[in-house]
């Protein structure tokens, strides 16, 4: 057996006398894993949400023997608790498998399972940069949906070879013929060459593996050249520090290599390199074309950023690889600890969470009503929900989240331009020239029978119609420009419910435009509560104020005195309700002198009230602060 030490040595897969794959002998030196680039395939699995990416990854892991039957579980690559609970992928996950093809050779497949939800499209774009190919999965009963198209275009624009794959052919409602036509009408090609699989039953998986080997290109970097590797993802390990997931483009990197991160300029020494199967497995070396992980023991995430290029300190490359644009937060929300004493713990938790989620941004914020907290930016509402849930669960915090808002720009009379992430920062009408709000380009795919319904919905949300394309006689692709603020909140739910779940939506940032926007303030007991302020279009201010006040009257429990709730624009009150004072709060009789029981009961009731936030002298339940999220449905 030959132990490879150089870039052009023996290819493991050609040694016919090898033990049956993939039984590696323990302690085998790592050089065995090196492959000729011709035998490497790097690809992402991309699709609309729920079309079966993670399940397909399961079958690929299983069929290639990467995982034993005993260790198999559904959506194995969805490792986070929240992913498993919600049944969705949140974070892309890269894994190495080895596949012995029908041609007798063993191929190294580096696959990345990506999330399908629109909030996480940034994960998809990052993953694609580390690949030469993509499997575009389409549900045989649903057909093409919005993220199918968005992700397909993203892959094509990145120059990737795309293999279209129809999944879930086992479903009774599967219509692979129609779906194949839809796909080829968008990305070209012959409908007969569209693969058909069932990630559930395993049908078609062998053909898919052969297609991966034969239809996707091998990487084409320079194995002998100067090291250049792309950091396409990273995570934080409490014991090992930052673990960078890298794709080596040129040259190679080994344990002990002195590396330089080109953007940050950090010089570090490699502690360990290896591959994820998905458990990590040190290999001692990774060379051109391959993907794997790299650790340096460094704990500062800012030294090893996603999108940076790894080269060597001794022979640094001149040209960095194309990196990534920073993800743009779309919605902002205030996060406040229910217990003011937890502010520092919240800061630490955010810092730690960011180690595994570089798209999370935040800065300290003070609210008169809620005290010290943070203004955080998120990729969307799902992202926001997940961050909040992780903070509460993984860091044992009790949080109040304020209603999400988009980022506005205020043009002031003195010629200034001010970025507004929090409605309370909007200057007074007197000093305000105009307010600009972010617009997005929206793509909606819907069965053609719902075109009218969708148009009506979009118009109500200040949308401007763009082009309309028939994907097939029954399915239409509609384009709009719309204010982001109108779609972030409940637009998606409304779209789904009005089209019986058939329409899907994708959006991307467009420009900023001046709009007729006002800030609606909410006053409790005549005191404005900054955390309730919202910026809305002038035409909707009254309806919004009314709805908000009504909702708060339902949510705020009766107190010992009347609590007036008002909505106001500036000093003008536009709506008013009152939470009437509680009139009876006493139990009649302490039976037989059971004072202990009485005391304990009162103490327990008081404990229950701690879940309320004191705003001035009013007890406000925590969920009232996100009430604005839900009011437009009613």
């Amino acid at each position: 057996m030959t132990h490879a030490t150089g870039p052009d040595l023996v290819i493991f897969g050609q040694e016919v006398d090898d033990p049956p794959f993939p039984a590696f002998a323990a302690g085998e030196p790592s050089g065995r894993h090196r492959m000729d680039q011709a035998r490497i395939r790097n690809f992402s699995i991309i699709a609309h949400i729920d079309h079966g990416k993670s399940t397909l990854a399961d079958r690929l892991l299983e069929r290639t023997g990467a995982i034993s039957e005993r260790d198999m579980r559904a959506q194995l690559l969805d490792e986070m608790d929240l992913e498993r609970e919600r049944g969705i992928t949140i974070k892309a996950n890269a894994v190495r498998i080895d596949y012995r093809s029908a041609d007798g050779a063993v191929y190294e497949l580096n696959l990345i399972d990506t999330p399908g939800h629109v909030d996480f499209s940034y994960e998809v774009s990052r993953s694609l940069e580390a690949c030469e190919g993509a499997l575009l999965l389409v549900d045989a009963s649903q057909g093409i949906e919005a993220q199918t198209l968005a992700n397909a275009y993203m892959a094509i624009e990145s120059g990737l070879e795309v293999i279209p794959v129809i999944n879930k052919i086992d479903l009774p409602a599967a219509d692979p013929e129609r779906v194949a036509l839809e796909i080829t009408s968008v990305i070209g090609g012959d409908p007969d060459e569209v693969l058909r699989v069932s990630a559930k039953s395993g049908a078609g998986i062998d053909e898919l593996l052969e297609a991966i080997v034969h239809r996707l290109p091998a990487p084409s970097g320079d194995p002998g050249g100067t090291l250049r590797a792309l950091v396409f993802d990273s995570y934080y390990d409490t014991y090992r520090g930052v673990v960078a997931l890298i794709r080596v483009v040129d040259g190679s990197v080994s344990t002990g290599t002195r590396i330089r991160l080109m953007a940050t300029g950090a010089d570090l020494v490699v502690d360990e390199v290896g591959v994820r199967r998905p458990a990590i497995e040190p290999t001692g070396n990774l060379s051109a074309g391959s993907a794997g992980y790299l650790m340096t023991g460094v704990k500062e995430i800012d030294l090893i950023r996603v999108g940076d290029t790894v080269t060597t300190t001794d022979h640094p490359s001149d040209t960095a690889l194309a990196g990534y644009a920073e993800p743009k937060p779309m919605v902002f929300s205030g996060l406040f600890p229910t217990d003011g004493d937890d502010f520092e713990r919240l800061r630490e938790a955010l810092d730690k969470l960011r180690l595994n989620d570089s798209s999370l941004v935040y800065q300290a914020e003070t609210s008169r009503a809620l005290g010290f907290g943070f203004r955080a930016g998120f990729l969307g509402l799902l992202h926001m929900e997940i961050v909040r849930e992780r903070l509460e669960r993984e860091y044992d915090l009790d949080l109040v989240a304020t209603a999400p808002s988009v980022q506005y720009v205020a043009n002031t009379a003195d010629g200034g331009r001010k970025v507004i992430q929090s409605p309370q920062d909007l200057p007074d009408a007197g000093s305000l020239l105009s307010v600009e709000e972010p617009y997005v380009k929206v793509m909606i795919i819907t069965p053609s029978e719902y075109i009218g319904t969708v148009m009506e919905l979009v118009q109500g949300k200040r949308g401007e119609m763009g082009e309309m394309t028939y994907l097939s006689p029954e399915r239409v692709e509609l384009h709009y420009r719309m204010p982001l603020a109108e779609i972030v909140f409940d637009f998606f739910d409304q779209l789904k419910s009005r089209t019986r779940g058939y329409a899907s939506l994708d959006y991307e940032p467009d420009d900023y435009r001046a709009s007729d926007l006002v800030r609606v303030d909410i006053l409790l007991n005549s005191q404005p509560v900054d955390a309730f302020s919202t910026i809305v279009h002038k035409d909707k201010a009254y309806v919004y104020g009314r709805a908000m006040v009504t909702k708060l009257r339902e949510l705020i429990p009766r107190q010992l005195f009347d609590v007036p709730i008002q909505a106001a624009i500036g000093s003008r009150i536009i709506s008013r309700e009152t939470v009437k004072a509680r009139r009876k709060d006493v139990t009649a009789k302490c039976y037989g002198g059971d004072i202990t029981r009485k005391r304990k009961l009162l103490e327990r009731q008081k404990e229950g009230k701690k879940r309320m936030k004191m705003v001035g002298s009013v007890e406000v339940p925590q969920d009232a602060f996100v009430a604005a999220l839900r009011i437009s449905e009613e």
Binding site: L560, K584, V586, G592, I595, T596, Q605, K609
Partner: protein
Amino acid sequence: MTVAPDDPGLADEAHDWKSAYIHVPFCRRRCPYCDFAIVDESATSVDHRRYIDAVLAEIEMEDGIGPLDAINFGGGTPSRLATAMIGDVVDSLAQRFGRAKDAEISIEVNPEDWSNEYGAELVAHGVTRVSIGAQSFDGEILGVLGRLHGPPEIERCVESARDVGVRSVGIDLIFGHADESDHSWTRSIDRAFALEPDHVSTYALTVERGTALAASIEAGAQAPDPDTQADRYQAFLDTAAPRGLARYEVSNHAKSGHACRYNLATWAHAEYLGFGLAAHDHRWGTRARNHRRLDRYLEAVEAGTRPRIATETLSASEQERDRLMLGLRLAAGTPITSVAATFLASDGGARMAEHGLVWERDGRIGVTNLFLADAVAREALAVA
């Protein structure tokens, strides 16, 4: 003695009274709203004599307190007992602990158990006060409440009690059942006052877990509405005041000289002995509770041991907390101790004072609207 029932001096005096409570758990059957520790005699039969012997044995196990200012028979339905048994207990208590001059001996009775003879015998055994479980003067509501008497029995009972020489005659009322109308309630009040009672207790119907009432509400019946109850209560207060009945505690009203001593003592955080099933006992620094199951209670006593199921030891400041919590139920309020001062100085206390929910004068603190007493007590317990 003609002291007003809500007199602060009386409340402070009550703090030093010593009383004894005797629980009589027998009822003809269980009322649908009741979660008390009782023996439903429609289902089980119990030897009253055996029970009273156990109570007498328990009395023999206690010492170091007295003389007694108040003795109270509560239930259950104490009027299920033969008067001789009541007499035995009264005598035994007087013998062991002594009886203060003017001592009150009080008993809860149900109208259907009453007769002139029964009443005369009670008086002969020293009873000075009866609390008549009238509950309502509306036959329909009495039915809904599962009571076995009608309005005429109440009237007979009150008149007879006065005739046989009971010093203080009180009527207990329950209001606020969902089936009760404003009209039904005002008629009940009028008929109650027409009998010129010395004392009236009014209880807002509460839904206790595990009762038949709770089950029916869970199954869709209407629950009592707290706002309606507040209205009913106000209607009662408006009628009581001109008749010379002053409210001295959340649910209790009396003419001058007729405050229930045992009641006052409880709210003034005095010491009391508790005998019988599920009875509670309070001696400075210690609260204790008897078994709630009759077999266990009898077993323990008959084996010569105290039938305690739990005791709680309180530090000086915890006792002060209890005194504050209880005193907030009294119209006379309670002295501003260090614990009460801490409460008044807290954010919550200051807010309540600012909104006029608590008053502070002559070194005392109290709740302005006693119908919100728990809200204030909750806040006080949280900070003090």
